[in-house]
């Protein structure tokens, strides 16, 4: 097979779409960690919940939009429940316990998906309007993947505006820096944390339903994505949103191009990149030293 420039570009777009999914998952993971110092091991399960909730809704309504809304709402609700009932009693008991707890939550959610929807996995077809490709003048690209990347970029821009320019964003930034002072100033910090956890879970759910047309849904689909999102946050720098975005898209493209040039090693590529970054910059590309010590 000849490797043409056209093929490389196509593969790069596929990589960006893959990266968009990583970014959506990693941004939520990073936000939750940045504010709550909880490493959410259930994040992959929320991703999976979003995909299943979306597909189930799609079967009843036939609407892709409704599927997206359902994915966000259901995973955000399960996220909110997890934070309020299970994670909250563990604050102040060290950083390991919430992590272990969310690990248990992921066990239960994955098995719940098996019970409700079976082990085989489900698939969802794109609406016809989103199928096919689009000619950009220098090549022919799959429409849905382009939209996925564009939509993620718009969402990220909104998120950035929200964090930097709104009153809510101010509270979030203050909470990440010093929750105690924020509480003294009269802000109910526990409600902010609940909202952030639900928001992060919702983002993961959205990523799940957006990825479902490309890869289908299985109960275990979150495991690999969780590991990828961890690699993204490690490479980008823990708690750094900009790092998550750059590393997410970068790793997506890197993995995708490795698939083209050395297919056998595509699954390993990500870990090799992580090892290199760790050797050169132990705190990640955008990470600050001492954040987690």
């Amino acid at each position: 097979m000849d490797i043409t420039l056209d093929l490389v570009l196509q593969q790069a777009v596929t990589g960006l779409a893959l990266g968009a999914v990583y970014v959506l998952v990693a941004v939520g993971l990073s936000l939750i960690f940045g504010l709550l110092t909880v490493v959410n091991f259930a994040h992959g399960a929320f991703f999976m919940v979003g995909a299943y909730a979306g597909i189930a809704t799609h079967e009843y309504t036939g609407s892709f939009l409704a599927a997206g809304v359902a994915a966000v709402v259901v995973s955000a609700l399960i996220g909110a429940f997890s934070e309020r009932v299970l994670v909250r009693p563990l604050y102040g008991r060290g950083i390991d316990y919430p992590l272990l707890l969310t690990f248990g939550i992921s066990y239960v959610l994955v098995d719940a998906a098996r019970i409700l929807f079976g082990r085989q996995g489900l698939s969802i077809d794109l609406p016809e309007a989103l199928q096919g490709g689009i000619d950009l003048g220098f090549g022919y690209f799959p429409l849905y993947r382009m939209l996925l990347v564009a939509g993620t970029l718009v969402l990220l821009a909104l998120l950035w505006l929200g964090i930097e320019r709104t009153r809510w964003g101010l509270i979030i930034r203050a909470g990440a820096r010093d929750p105690l002072i924020l509480r003294v100033l009269g802000v109910d910090v526990s409600r902010v944390w609940l909202a952030i956890f639900a928001f992060g879970a919702g983002l993961a759910g959205l990523a799940g339903i957006l990825a479902a047309p490309l890869r289908g849904a299985t109960p275990e689909m979150g495991d690999g994505v969780l590991v990828s999102a961890f690699v993204v946050t490690v490479v980008g720098g823990m708690g750094s949103l900009a790092g998550a975005v750059v590393a997410g898209f970068g790793l997506g493209v890197a993995v995708s191009l490795t698939t083209l040039f050395a297919p056998a090693f595509s699954d390993l590529a990500m870990f090799v990149f992580m090892a290199i970054v760790l050797l050169v910059r132990p705190n990640g590309l955008f990470g600050r030293a001492g954040l987690l010590s």
């Binding site: 299970l86 008991r93 707890l101 066990y107 239960v108 098995d111 961890f230 760790l278 987690l292 010590s293």
Partner: protein, 325 residues
């Protein structure tokens, strides 16, 4: 060595009430009678292997206070090394088991070299990714490892010790041969834990900045702990290969790393007997529940959540803590 002055006297290092020798004796008696009380010898073998795995993991997680989520790489690394040496080179199984343990230690050293540049939660995430890397390696080089199907086709031949022929094909003989290896490893672990090095580990867990301020080589101690933990976990993996006569690719999987955490926490982290008890509880629960329903993960997950919330010291940790004055 000045360590003895920096941390409390070594009482309560292995166990408060049982003392180091008592704890080791308890662990060995427990494993020795296991096949006699359990309905299937193979179940006892699984408990032994998983118990040894959890005990090795506990050295890092329970004693040194370092959360690793990639220990399956050490377990699976040992299992695959043993299996491959027997299959491709025809090595006798006891030698292959020793080599598997060494391979586990080497994986631990690789972990130390890469992941110890980071700390805390960061470390946990990097070890998780490294563990997943091991899994992908086995899948990528499927022509050597058998890929998804796992490694098959090696047989542990009978060995002769002083005229006595021991055939691992017989379940009971196999169990007590494995027990011999496990006993050596557990005795070694107990010895390490009462050494000054064992105290350094606990000092790091209790207060890392203070341990460093006392002039302890924190990073070196962590690296050594990972290597020793890898040695024990690699041995556990090697014995698993002998126990099953195959190496499933799950031995490298992310869930096995999680299982190490669960078993250790269930039994009681930072106690000598806890991980063995935790492994027995975990394997037992899995066995009993999977008889009733195939969805045993739900039950185990809820049990685990309950322990994290309400009983973080684990069964044995709570029992020992209650007996402490």
């Amino acid at each position: 060595m000045s360590v003895a002055q920096t941390v409390p006297a070594p009482t309560g290092l292995l166990a408060r009430r049982f003392g180091p020798v008592g704890s080791l004796a308890l662990a060995l008696v427990f494993l020795a009678v296991l096949p006699l009380v359990l309905p299937y010898t193979s179940l006892a073998g699984t408990v032994l292997v998983m118990g040894l795995f959890a005990a090795g993991y506990n050295l890092v997680f329970g004693y040194a206070g370092i959360l690793s989520l990639g220990h399956a790489a050490m377990f699976g690394g040992g299992a695959y090394t043993t299996g491959l040496l027997m299959l491709k080179l025809g090595l006798s199984w006891p030698l292959a088991v020793v080599a598997g343990a060494v391979a586990g230690a080497l994986v631990g050293i690789v972990f130390a070299a890469l992941a110890l540049r980071t700390r805390g939660i960061y470390f946990a995430m990097v070890t998780l990714a490294l563990g997943q890397c091991g899994y992908q390696l086995a899948i990528t080089f499927a022509d050597v490892t058998g890929g998804d199907n796992g490694l098959r086709g090696f047989v542990a031949a009978p060995i002769e010790i002083g005229g006595l022929v021991l055939d691992p094909a017989q379940p009971m003989v196999r169990y007590y041969l494995m027990f011999g290896f496990a006993a050596v490893a557990l005795a070694g672990l107990a010895r390490v834990l009462v050494s000054p090095f064992g105290m350094v580990l606990r000092a790091m867990r209790e207060n890392l900045p203070r341990a460093r301020a006392c002039g302890l080589d924190v990073r070196g101690a962590k690296a050594l702990a990972l290597a020793l933990s890898g040695l024990v976990c690699g041995l556990a993996g090697s014995l698993y290969a002998i126990h099953l006569s195959t190496v499933p690719v799950d031995t490298l999987g992310y869930h096995l790393s999680g299982q190490a955490v669960m078993m250790t926490l269930l039994g009681g982290m930072g106690t000598f007997f806890g991980p063995l008890l935790g492994a027995a509880l975990f394997v037992g629960a899995e066995h009993l529940v999977s008889d009733v329903t195939e969805y045993w993960q739900t039950v185990v997950g809820i049990l685990f959540i309950g322990f994290v919330l309400f009983c973080p010291k684990g069964v044995w940790g709570t029992f020992e803590g209650a007996r402490q004055p």
